[in-house]
């Protein structure tokens, strides 16, 4: 790869990370300052390198499934931030019409088949999406991202074994931010780690520094190349850190003193990517421009979203089912 290509890619990664962070910062403001987000939101601040790095190598017709902490993945998959913000605010034009909210964000138009409010539940569903694509003879591939806590739920075993047995075109990513809500996940996880679990189920597993966007992108590229060539399912353990509380309301006082501060200072994925670009020759002004552009975009997104009305009351009863829907019943 020539240098210009590298720079462009590296820049794209930073742009995406800045956009994700700006989006979530605005979402947190909307929640805390403005009281506009009524349900819980789970920020992925500090984890943006995973979303940006992984999604670089998934196309629009590939399929993504994610978690309650899925804003970054969704945005990186190509979803419209305004539709997303509207969803967080429960407004009309939200990507789920205001019915799902942050925890159920989805944009089928860009192949994003849903966050999930149930930890680990998407692992079997994602395996099935890959199964369906294979059955239909499609060339698209699937990526399913979940947290470190999900590795202790049954669907981890059942879904990964399924992908293994049926040799499906899917990448499972454990985006390991080291916490399950208020609990240090390592204390609740037996054995040598999630990659070993995946290997024991027959998957090739790779471990990557999840705060190094370049490394995440490179590793994902290697994996997706194998997947697209018909290789079997793979596993990626991306180690990162949750800079915020579990939800935007959580002060996260259970963390050891200084742990978060140190990660923010030394291991912030955006700062690290800025350094990469700096080493490639981008100056401070250029970096600032990227930051400012992302900020401006998301400030506008929040403004536009807040100006959007709530969904029509009648939609409380639509899209339940065809037969015996509440609309029919009410007649």
């Amino acid at each position: 790869m020539d240098k210009s290509h590298n720079t462009q890619t590296a820049r794209d990664l930073l742009v995406m990370m800045e956009r994700i962070r700006a989006f979530e910062e605005q979402a947190i403001l909307a929640a805390e300052r403005d009281n506009l987000v009524l349900g819980a939101i789970h920020p992925s601040i500090g984890q943006e390198a995973c979303a940006a790095g992984i999604m670089t190598h998934f196309n629009r017709d590939d399929i993504l499934l994610s978690t309650h902490r899925g804003h970054g993945h969704t945005l990186a998959k190509g979803a419209d931030p305004l539709a997303m913000m509207r969803e967080l605010l429960g407004r009309t034009g939200g990507c789920c019409g205001g019915k799902g909210g942050s925890m159920h964000i989805a944009d089928f138009g860009v192949g994003m088949l849903g966050a999930n409010g149930v930890v680990g539940a998407n692992i079997t569903i994602a395996a099935g999406a890959a199964h369906g694509l294979k059955m239909l003879g499609k060339s698209a591939i699937v990526v399913d991202i979940f947290g470190d806590g999900a590795a202790n739920r049954g669907p981890f075993l059942e879904g990964i074994n399924w992908a293994s047995v049926f040799d499906l075109p899917i990448l499972f990513v454990c985006e390991d931010n080291q916490y399950s809500a208020t609990t240090k996940t390592s204390a609740m996880t037996g054995g040598p780690g999630v990659a070993a679990r995946a290997e024991a189920l027959g998957l090739r597993a790779t471990v990557v520094d999840g705060n190094d966007a370049e490394a995440v992108a490179r590793t994902t590229h290697e994996i997706t190349t194998r997947l697209r060539a018909g290789g079997g399912p793979e596993f990626l353990h991306a180690i990162t850190y949750r800079q915020t509380g579990h939800t935007s309301f959580d002060p996260a006082s259970y963390r050891p003193d200084g742990e978060a501060e140190k990660s923010i200072a030394d291991n912030d994925p955006i700062a690290r990517q800025r350094a990469v670009l700096g080493a490639m020759g981008l100056d401070r002004a250029a970096l600032k421009a990227i930051h400012d552009m992302a900020q401006a975009e998301m400030v506008q997104v929040l403004a536009d979203a807040s100006a959007t009305p709530f969904p029509g009351d009648e939609t409380a009863f639509t899209d339940v089912q065809d037969l015996g829907s509440p609309v029919q019943e009410a007649r």
């Binding site: 399929i63 019915k99 849903g114 569903i125 369906g132 669907p155 339940v320 089912q321 015996g324």
Partner: protein, 323 residues
Amino acid sequence: MVNMTYVEASRLAVREAMQGDPTVWCVGEDLGRGSVFGQYLGLQDEFGPDRVVDTPISEAAIMGAAFGAAMVGTRPIVEMRFSDFALCATDELVNQIAKARFMFGGQSRAPMVIRKPIGIWRSSAAQHSQSLESWYVHIPGLVVLCPATPQDNYSMMKAAIACDDPVVYLEHKNIWSMQGEVDTTIRAELGKASLRRKGRDVTIVSWSETANLCVHAAATLAEQGIDAEVIDLRSLWPWDKGMVLDSVRKTGRLVVAHESVAVGGFGGEVVATVAEMAGDALKGPVRRLGAPRSLVAYAPNLEDKMRVTKDMIVTGAKETLGK
């Protein structure tokens, strides 16, 4: 018209649907061997192991994966073997499949048929005998079907596969070998009850195997000069309130009978609906027959104590008439 058994009827429906639509497929344990009751016999030979898929013992994954495959455009028929084991996939069915379309604002669909054989069957004890149809009726997003005859098991299976909603399809294990004439041109309209017997004196509402018992009970009642109307709901959601209410308005008497536990059973929903919407038409006490709130034991005499029998239905009907 062909004479066939209950199990042959749904097998034929699945087979024809698979012939007609390459996106229809079956998934579950031991399907290559026909599954526990022969529901899939021969299908893997005809359609191959990629469309009649044998799986690990992973109910959560069977349900979850089928859902994922449905979201990308296939139409899975999910086999849970015994309805009891389907409880291992409750999150997948109730929190995921039933809710996805709504939660995602209409972006996703889950055209799935989820087969869960129900009922008391030959000393199978508490973990292999349950009928939990009332659970699924309580879950918005799901369609719930309980065919009681070969004809319905053919026509309703066909309609279920064609339906774009997730359908919980409850076959009764005790009537797999029940024979009957099947007209393959009949198309089921899901949500319409079947009038198994016309009558003037008392309305008997039922479904699944118990509906067949009710038909026999009605014959006995007829010998005693009581003309019972027997309504086999066959679809519990949506259910044919109209037929039931019209019948009760005509007879003024109501018996509801089902195999599952009476407390919290769907019989309560039927009686409550009648009480709300046609309470003034009732001319006598209503009777709700179902299992006591106990468990199905292994010993045959104890198992029998959990059954609603023909005699109980006869007695119940007479009680509504003050006889």
